[in-house]
Amino acid sequence: MKRSGRALDRMSPRRQTSWDARAATNFICGGAGGGLLAATALASPLGVDLRSLIVLGLALVGLGLLAVWLEIGRPLRALNVYRNVATSWMTREALVATLLFAAGAAAVVLDQPAAIWLAGLSGIGLVYAQGRILRNQKGIPAWRHGLCAALVVATGVTEGAGLLVMAALIWPALTPFGVLLAVLAVARLVVWRRYRESLRGVGVPVGTLKAFDAIDVPFVWVGHAVPIGLGIAGALLGWPIAVALAGAAAVVAGAWFKFVLIGRAALTQGFALPQAPARGSGRPGVGARPGWSRAKAQ
């Protein structure tokens, strides 16, 4: 059996291959877990004992971190991750996660509002750090775009709210939070739309646009229309089942989006040639930026 050569084109953006489902799991679970902690803090004044949701939030964050620990090349040196707080959002994510676990543990053990609010804030912090991790990856145009971080935060808190309202099946008092979910879903939809428009405007690898185009319709309908409709309807009508479905749709759609964001849509920068050189007495030629939706001038 003959094997054929590797890809013929070396200039165009290609899908990143260094982060696989394990890294995606961190963004999916970490975002949802962090969002859940924040949403739980918001719901804590209801007087319902939501510590099990805090445990769930911590477990999700922990699962995400475990997944990424399994991905890194040198897991035994994992503590080196704390060495660059000055500039690295990955270090900051690790610090926030440490704080999050401390606060979360305290909240579970002590059931103190301060600890719950601190855990919730840490959850937001974690989601924000994850957004900034992507924002600083200059090698992936889909990530380095400013609205990508906003979208990661928006989807994290939306998923958190989604998980919270799913708990309305157990604690019907949470049903009104369907409105919160709907508001967050609207926000996420706005950011998603603006993000994609903006990507088209500034130019982005064609593969990135294709990947997003492919999920747009289900993402908008399942991830937004359903949560908004069912969330508001469920909250107004007091139907826990409706808001739980709304929450599930928001969570699943958010997870699917992040899986695509980290995987299929994560095309590298590729190379651009601003000018073709002059050869001898010949004139210089035009350049090229293969694989991009728009050849942005350098």
Partner: protein, 915 residues
Amino acid sequence: MTADEPVRRVPTFCYNCVSGPDFLTVKVENGIATEIEPNFAAETVHPGRGRPCVKAYGLVQKTYNPNRVRTPMKRTNPKKGRDEDPGFTPISWDEALDTIAERLKAVRTGGLIDQAGLPRLAASFGHGGTPANYMGTFPAFLAAWGPVDFSFGSGQGVKCTHSEHLYGEFWHRAFTVSADTPNTRYVIACGANVEVTGGPTAVIRHADARIRGYKRVQVEPSLTITAACSAEWVPIRPKTDPAFLFALINVLIHEHGLAALDQPFLRDRTASAYLVGPNGLYLRDRATGKPLVWDETRRAAVAFDTARAVPAVAGRFRVATAVTMDADRVRVNHAGVEGTTAFQALSDHIARYTPEWAAAICDVPAETIRRIAGEYLEAASIGATIDIDGHTMPLRPVAVTLGKSVNNGWGAYECCWARTVLAMLVGALENPGGILGTTVRLNRPHDNRHLSVKPGDDGFMVQHFNPTSRERWEATPTTRNLHRTLVPIVGRNGGWSQALGPTQLAWMFQEERPADWPMPEPTHPDVWFVYRSNPAISFWDTRRLAESIARFPFMVAFAYTVDETNYMADLLLPEATDLESTQLIRMGATKYMEHFWDCHGVVLRQQAVEPQGEARDFTWIATELARRTGLLSAYVEQLNRGVAGVAPLKGEGYDVRLDPAEVPEPERIWDAICRAATFTLSDGRDTHGLDWFRQHGFYKVPVSRRSWYLTPTLEEQGLRYELPYQERLMRIGRELRNRLHEQNMHWWDEQLAEYAALPDWHDVPGRWEQALIAAGARTEDFPFWLLTTKSMQYHSGGNASIALMDEVSENLRGHTGVIIHVDTATTLGIGDGDPVEVRSHIGATYGRAALVKGVRPDTLVIVGQFDHWATPYIKDIERASLNSIAPMTLALTDATGSGADIVRVAVRRMERPAA
């Protein structure tokens, strides 16, 4: 520096292609070769600045490749064929060498020539003589042996720049023709791919020229690397280059006129003024037989060498008395005959080949052709001079260079002629800035082409054609490629003449012969040596060729790995490879390609590391073969004559001869060769042995740049270039026709048409279409041209099994695939990277589509020569090859015995079918 040091840097060279030697050092750590680096000590000696090209960096992998043949092996399966596992089994060197010696002794007993008059020993070596730089003293063994048949080519003739070799050497002692790149300003390159094949020397010289602002116009169907590095790319229709070049001549002569050309050069250094009679033959002086010219001072026809004559370059003149000399010395007396100067004949002949005419054939706009001709003429700066080492010489910085498939196969004679005429018209032939010959192989001595220049007939250089006279023509071939019988111009100067015969005829006629074949049927050689040569991949119709190879009775292959040719071998012998063995070779002065240096000398390839397994130094193998075959003293005598390289071992003032009665150790042999070389190079000032070379790597003495140019040598001897009119070739062609017809042979008639005094355009690409029809196929079923081109990573390296080359070559666009124009591919529904089948009327080859814009929409290109099925590593990689589907036919063989890499094909999206 000693062998015990933990880290050593060992100077040596790479000669994996004809553009060597390139200098390098091997870093050896604790006895293991780890890195290849340039040899910076050679930075000012080697025109490539002491740097080897990418291929050399594969030599470490080559050394330790686990797929190497590490012990002698014998075949255990008597059946041979692609589907027969040879069952190679390790044996000892003693058994291997004794087996060969027994065979060879039996051959000697029965006579060196067989019943068909052919040598019973044959040998095939790979690309362009490069194996000679790795085979140690094996040439001395072959010389001691006697007649050897080198007919079975592995690509020479069809894969080399064949017509350029033959006609180049005929016209200006130019086995290879190069631009004088360090001085040139304008180059028209018809397919010459020097950035790939010219080695570091060509690469740096052309890069320097680009910065200097020279202009190179690349005329080629695809945007090759050299085209990419040119100022302008002209995507010409394949195989129509003669029309393009004819039109350039037309513009120079008919639009710019004689007054704009280099008239002194035409008058004094060429045969432009020779008078041609109405029968197309030179008008000659009746008494002396010398060609006549029209002396403008005497206003009369006089012999060309008449003192103080001022010959007219153009015009027609009434000549009172003359004689013409036709084939077979048929003399015809003439009186009151009109004589036309050769230049005038050229002018008349070329008048019909206008740019407008050529545009329709070449698919190049007439205005482009006209502009290029004008730029060429302007850049020629006729009248300008340059100081070369204290001598004022003409500066004519323009060149036309030709690449493979342009300068071989049908149409190549026309191209070579037109290119040389273009140089002639502006005085750029063998003058600074113009075109140069860079070595001789069909003339001697090989290391100094100037010494081959001696007065011959009609005021031209002496030539050593194979005789075509009734008395001396070789009616019974003495080689299987019939080079002496069929190709007068290839000459009879030993192995090179033979190896440049029509090698595909040797393969074809083993299988079948024309009906009118009165000669003895060619036989298989009793013993066949093969080294660094894989014709089952590198020739054409390779599947059938492999079957042909399987019918050879006894093949001994010096084998690096098992490959598609030695799969049929009876014995495999592992020779110590590049970094494991020792050899001293010549460097510098002028060599192939762009190698004209400021010095000449010798360079050592030395053993940097211990050979792997049981691999042995080739010199040891050659010596043992000689000893066991009973040829030891003859072998040593050949060594003493200097056959293994550089200089005789005895000369005036030195004597380092070896004792013919003793078995010399390789070290002793090379030590003597080192000493003889340095003594002769230095005129006795220096004598350095092997140890000195191991440390210093090379030895050089300066040469004058004036030696780059042949014209001063012709001037000194009062000789002329045999241009533009080819009266001699025409006569020889007629004689050859007479001889063949006397034997009732007509199968070479088509080829005889090439012997024209002034070549005409004929439908060159149409020959391939006609061949298709003759094979029973329809031209519309094969609508594309398939071409091939070389890559520096693989060219002539015999390195298809080197993983590093595979890895780095993948960075090049289209290297691993089938190059197709993006619009063509879109029409056919083929996407980038899609599996495709490229099919000719004899078979199919498979690869991945590489979509580009830089190729003509009617042309496909496959880089390199692949489609391996036995060579480890590369056999597992899908790479298409033109060779698998290019037919081998007489109809596509030109008069020199050459063909070209071009096939009519169809292409479609398709996976390779399961075997």
